[in-house]
């Protein structure tokens, strides 16, 4: 550091030696606020005993009172008081021989002071000795008002920020704060302390700091993501800095929104929800390109004996669409569409053994998940698989079959009981639920749905002509023979006049059903139960009903608007619900996919994607994909939580002692072993499935961080402190030399917990 010529002249003029080294070092005089270094009357300042004549005492003064630790000389005021004999005081650098000098002389009993300039010894030591007869005493007080220090060897400020930090944001679109206590150490050169500033080096947005110019500050993070922050210090000549990585995790509510709208949350989706907001997140999901099922070449209903082995598996079992379902669920981007389509499938179920019949049925939900519920009803009514499943395809004027008529009313549209807009039942005068229809209406709709048959044929997979299952059913002709043209009693007392054609009657009947006020609460409440909670408040259901009735533009039955309203409703949003009845048990397919998506499931060897042959896992838990046992779906929509009369818990319909342990055993398999591929020609599981655990190994050395990460992925960060502590203890029982086993330990516990099994 240079000293200017003017300053040099000044210092020289003051009698101060100015060191002139070849590197042009310089000396500078620094003032400090007057400060007491030593007071032998004060225990805190080197006392309380006075100096004893002839006995030196050493004080550590270096670096104190704001003086630089490398100060070469201190400007002191030396005061003696209460001497009981005459004498003198010598001040000299600690660790050196006592010089034959004096700084202040005194007679007995007086208080005298003198200024001095003293050099400090090694270690900042200053020694003092009283030249008095042995056994006599004097108190000494030393004040400092300035010091000399060289400006050479200025060290840059030392900045420290500690290890990586994290925080969880408090709510969707809400910023979060984190106290960061950095430290800046400066040698005071060249001029006093250092000036501090903060920056955002990288991250999804700019972080603000309050105060902005202090090493200890509160940082505000507007968005979820990984930030690198820099704390810089500038001493006037040199600068120092330190960086720290801060991970701002999406809020619990952002994770919950993703859990409600996908087959399993991950950081990418949760970040979108957090930073874009709930509405934009839903819009983003609605806009994703749909995944679905291919068009399968139709095969005859009765399997020819020539179609065996792989032909049988691929065309007369649901093996292939089941794998496609799981593949779409694991890796597709239209997660919300898939969830809604599956929800509609559960409300309007069927089963068939032929993929060529199943796929067109499933694609109705895929295509209309955010569309028009009236279209769902119509396409479903004319779907071949449904016509076969519920016998509409054989129902004629002379041999009517009421199966479809009954089920479309009971299960697919209005339900058995008249409902208020808030989903509660209406009761008659005797306290009995009022029915929405009777056998008379079932008879009426039975007549409506007569006279349909298979669509035109195409060449099928065995070379013979087979109906094209992907096309809708068509009228059976002559209509007068097969379609009932009498009057038909519909819902709400409406009578459909006779003489209508097969198609005209169908549409009139569907209009009648679609217009019934039950449809909004009946369908809306079930969608809430599938996505958010089994027991929505009546007010929640009423809000959704009103969106079903009118999406804001006058349209009725707009499923996209309904789904968006369900997810944005105040009862779905806002962090962990406090209601004791909140949430819903994850059905097997959701439970399994949550775990697989949370840990980026891949093939057994990890080299590629999973083969998605996962139906056996959920079948074990009581849910055979696309093979619900009856038209009442995998479990009844009105099944109640065992032991809690009146508390809805549809998914508990699949939870028995047996399936409860199968869930835990699945976790054991997937976490500790993986699902192995099988071999041979045309293996069912060519690649197997495993979880991707390696990204968590670096956290294994810090069980608290590992548990937090696992609980963020599976439980939106909402594990109770007791749960967290218990998991940490279990992880600690695994040697730190086995990070993989530590990771497995944590995942097993979280994934088997009922806190995870219940979506809240």
């Amino acid at each position: 550091m240079w000293v200017s010529g003017a300053l040099r002249a000044l210092l020289l003029g003051a009698g101060v030696a100015v060191l002139a080294t070849p590197s042009e070092a310089a000396i500078r005089y620094y003032t400090v606020s007057p400060c007491r270094l030593v007071d032998t009357r004060d225990a805190a300042l080197g006392g309380p005993t006075p100096l004893s004549g002839g006995t030196p005492r050493t004080f550590t003064v270096g670096g104190r009172c704001g003086t630089s630790p490398t100060a070469s000389g201190l400007i002191l005021n030396i005061t003696v008081t209460q001497p009981n004999a005459a004498g003198f005081l010598t001040v000299y650098p600690g660790g050196t021989a006592v010089p034959a000098t004096s700084n202040v002389n005194f007679r007995s009993g007086v208080t005298r002071a003198n200024s001095a300039m003293a050099r400090v010894g090694a270690g900042g030591a200053l020694s003092v000795v009283a030249g008095m007869p042995a056994g006599t005493t004097v108190h000494v007080i030393i004040d400092v008002s300035g010091y000399f220090d060289d400006t050479v060897n200025n060290q840059p400020p030392f900045v420290a920020l500690g290890s990586a930090k994290s925080l969880q944001l408090p709510g969707i679109l809400r910023a979060g704060t984190l106290a960061i206590n950095g430290s800046v150490t400066d040698d005071g050169k060249p001029a006093g302390g250092a000036v501090v500033s903060w920056q955002t080096l990288s991250g999804p947005s700019i972080v603000t700091f309050s105060p902005a110019n202090s090493a200890s500050t509160t940082a505000t993070f507007p968005a979820a993501g990984t930030y690198v922050l820099r704390l810089s210090a500038w001493d006037g000549a040199l600068g120092g800095y330190a960086d720290v990585t801060v991970v701002a995790s999406p809020s619990a509510d952002a994770w919950r929104l993703v859990e409600q709208s996908t087959w399993g949350a991950n950081l990418v989706y949760a970040t979108v929800a957090q930073n874009a907001g709930a509405g934009a997140y839903v819009d983003w999901q609605i806009a994703q390109t749909p995944t679905g099922y291919p068009t399968y070449t139709p095969f005859p209903t009765d399997r020819p004996s020539t179609c065996s082995g792989a032909c049988d598996r691929d065309n007369y079992s649901l093996y292939h669409p089941q794998r496609i379902f799981f593949n779409n669920a694991l890796y597709g981007n239209d997660q919300l569409r898939q969830r809604v389509a599956f929800a509609l499938h559960k409300i309007i179920p069927l089963t068939t053994q032929q993929p060529s019949q199943l796929a067109p049925y499933l694609n109705i939900f895929r295509n209309n998940a955010f569309g028009d519920f009236r279209a769902v009803l119509r396409e479903m009514s004319l779907n071949v698989a449904m016509g076969v499943y519920l016998d509409m395809i054989t129902s004629t004027r002379t041999r009517p079959n009421e199966n479809y008529a009954r089920e479309i009313l009971q299960l697919f549209s209005v339900g058995t009981d008249l409902l208020n807009p808030d989903g509660t039942k209406q009761f008659d005068g005797n306290g009995v639920p009022a029915p929405s229809y009777t056998q008379a209406e079932v008879d009426g709709f039975t007549k409506v749905f007569t006279g349909w048959t298979f669509p035109a044929q195409v060449t099928g997979g065995t070379g013979t002509l087979v109906p094209n299952y992907a096309s809708p059913m068509r009228q059976r002709t002559p209509e007068s023979t097969y379609h009932d043209n009498g009057t038909k009693l519909l819902l709400g007392g409406q009578t459909l006049a006779g003489g209508g054609t097969t198609v005209v009657d169908l549409d009139a009947a569907l209009n009648n059903i679609f217009a019934h006020p039950n449809v909004g609460p009946f369908i809306g409440k079930q969608l809430i139960q599938q996505l958010v909670t089994s027991n929505p408040s009546p007010a929640y259901v009423a809000r959704i009903t009103s969106v079903f009735n009118n999406d804001g533009t006058g349209r009725r039955g707009n499923l996209g608007a309904v789904v968006k309203a369900i997810l944005l409703d105040t009862e779905a949003r806002g962090g962990d619900p406090v209601d004791l009845d909140s949430g819903h048990l994850k059905e097997p397919v959701l439970y399994v996919l949550n775990i697989l998506r949370a840990f980026e499931a891949r093939s057994f060897d990890g080299a590629t994607t999973s083969d998605s042959y996962l139906n056996p896992q959920i079948q074990n838990m009581g849910q055979d994909l696309f093979r619900p046992p009856t038209v009442f779906s995998y479990f009844p929509a009105d099944f109640e939580v065992p032991g809690h009369i009146g508390l809805a818990g549809p998914e508990f319909g699949l939870l028995s002692a047996t399936t409860a342990l199968r869930r835990a055993n699945f976790v054991n398999t997937i976490v500790f072993n993986g699902i192995q591929p099988n071999t041979g020609a045309n293996p069912n599981a060519p690649l197997g499935t495993s979880l991707t655990l390696a990204p968590l190994y670096p956290l294994a050395g810090d069980p608290a961080r590992l548990v937090d990460e696992v609980c963020m992925r599976l439980l939106h960060g909402s594990a109770s402190s007791q749960m967290r502590t218990s998991m940490i203890t279990a992880v600690n029982a695994v040697p730190v030399s086995n990070p993989r086993l530590r990771v497995q330990q944590a995942i097993y516990l979280a994934a088997t917990s009922s806190q995870f099994q219940v979506q809240r």
Binding site: D312, R313, Y319, T351, Q353, Y389, D391, T394, S395, T396, R399, N401, E402, N403, T416, P433, P435, Q439, S534, L580, D581, S582, G583, H584, Q619, R627, T630, F632, F635, F639, E640, V641, P642, G643, L647, G649, F652, G653, L654, L655, S656, A657, T658, T659, A660, L661, N665, S720, S726, T729, A730, A733, V734, Q745, Y748, L749, S754, Q757, V758, R760
Partner: protein, 476 residues
């Protein structure tokens, strides 16, 4: 394909209705399983086994009048091709003393092979009884009252609602508990409080099994000591620590009702799994199908209990089911196969109870959603029937006054309906029989044999007082 799947359009209904219970009671009760608590093998053992025919069995084709009574049946069913030929019914003909006319059981209820056991054979041997025209009722009802202002069960002809009514014996409002569970509530004190549930379902969770206080156990088929096994734990330090945490986590967050219920289910499974420590051998050969495997499991559990003083259950109720009876189409072949399966499995089960020496202590009975319309539906060639109401059922066991038909005399003076469209037993004109015997009466007869005191019958069947008798007399 490594699965065996049997596709039927409307397979068995798996309604669920798990029971209420205090987990604390189970936990303390089962604590005693680990103690040396040597109870004597049960000396007063009784078991009820409910076989639910899911979908609604067309009992009009299961029990068919012969001789003079055949013509009305033939007149309605023959034109559509749904009638079973009288000649085919001769091998399975029966003559119940109560009616003094002959009936034919469906041919599938005869022996599958020469010398095999069958429901027809057991009827002839006095081990099987028929209960005629049973169904849910609010109060006795005739055709006039039905078509007028008589009180009818809610949502007739709807699967889920009728299944609920059969299983709960509540027909004016929706019942929340089943009469199997309510019987269990009454008899649980006979089981010495060791915690193993009275009711065991091999067919999933159904409301029949739900009691007000007791909770059923749900297990599947397979080796009994492997149905409730928790995998993945050994004696290593890591596994022990994981197990400790796994158990501890189930005690947390229990103020949230869904979480607590899920935790309870896992806890029950683990506790009872510890009690199922063997896989007893049953010599009797069962058919290797759904119902056969379920009933074989019931036989194993009965045997385990008889041989395990620590379990020492005096009263057990079991629930199994067989599905596919919703024969809107394809009924002839469909029902033929289903009744074959029903007969073979039930007959094997009877033989197993003989093998275990408890044939007079185990009573098996059938339920179903409803009967079906006498008049056929659907197109010829694929003919079937639609949903009905009253139907006929079997009761089987050594304690049954077998070889006879039981029921309540209806407006036609008989316990058996008049097979006439628009006749005195019909709701309208499709041959849906208004039941003459109520589910309450059917169940109360079984409950009385099982040990429910007469004064407690109205607790189990609150509506029983509306009917003329609480005992149809088919039990010894």
């Amino acid at each position: 394909m490594d699965e065996q799947f049997r596709y039927t359009r409307r397979d068995f209904l798996r309604r669920s209705g798990c029971t209420a219970a205090s987990v604390a009671a189970i936990a303390t009760g089962l604590d005693r399983l680990g103690l040396v608590n040597v109870l004597a093998a049960p000396t007063d053992y009784r078991a009820l086994v409910c076989v639910f025919m899911s979908g609604g069995n067309d009992s009009n084709n299961m029990i068919i009048p012969l001789d003079a009574g055949y013509a009305p049946y033939q007149a309605v069913r023959q034109p559509a091709g749904l009638a079973i030929a009288q000649a085919a019914l001769e091998p399975t003909a029966v003559l119940p003393p109560s009616l003094a006319v002959r009936f034919g059981f469906h041919p599938s209820l005869g022996p599958a092979a020469v010398g095999a056991q069958s429901l027809h054979g057991l009827f002839a041997a006095g081990r099987v009884a028929v209960v005629a025209n049973v169904g849910p009722l609010v109060e006795p009802l005739n055709r006039t009252q039905y078509q007028g202002s008589g009180r009818k069960p809610y949502q007739l002809f709807s699967h889920s609602d009728q299944v609920t009514q059969w299983q709960t014996a509540y027909s004016s409002t929706r019942g929340q508990t089943g009469w199997g569970g309510r019987i269990a509530d009454e008899v649980v004190s006979l089981n010495g409080g060791n915690g193993f549930p009275v009711v065991t379902s091999i067919a999933g969770t159904q409301v029949f099994n739900v009691g007000a206080q007791t909770r059923a156990l749900g297990v599947g088929t397979g080796a009994l000591n492997q149905v409730l096994v928790l995998n993945g734990f050994n004696t290593s330090a890591e596994a022990t620590a994981r197990r400790n945490s796994f158990d501890y986590l189930r005690t947390l967050d229990r103020t949230f009702n869904l979480v607590a219920t899920s935790e309870d289910m896992t806890s029950q499974a683990i506790n009872i799994g510890a009690a199922l420590s063997q896989d007893p051998a049953i010599t009797t050969v069962f058919p290797n199908d759904g119902l056969g495997n379920q009933l074989r499991q019931v036989a194993k559990i009965i045997k385990l209990n008889l041989e395990s003083p620590a379990l020492g259950l005096n009263r057990q109720i079991f629930f199994v089911s067989i599905g596919g009876f919703d024969t809107h189409t394809g009924e002839l072949v469909g029902q033929q196969n289903l009744l074959r399966d029903l007969c073979d499995a039930m007959a094997a089960f009877y033989n197993a109870t003989v093998e275990l020496g408890v044939s007079d202590r185990v009573t098996t009975f059938t339920l179903s959603d409803f009967g079906r319309t006498l008049s056929p539906s659907g197109s010829a060639g694929d003919v079937g029937t639609d949903h009905g109401w009253g139907s006929h059922h079997f009761v089987m066991g050594g304690a049954v006054r077998g070889g006879n038909f039981y029921g309540v005399a209806g407006p036609n003076g008989s316990i058996f309906p008049t097979l006439q469209l628009g006749g005195p037993n019909d709701t309208d004109n499709r041959g849906r029989w208004i039941p003459t015997a109520a589910v309450d009466q059917y169940g109360a007869t079984l409950a009385s044999w099982f040990g429910v005191a007469p004064g407690d019958l109205s607790t189990v069947f609150p509506n029983i007082g509306r009917f003329t008798t609480n005992n149809l007399g088919f039990m010894l």
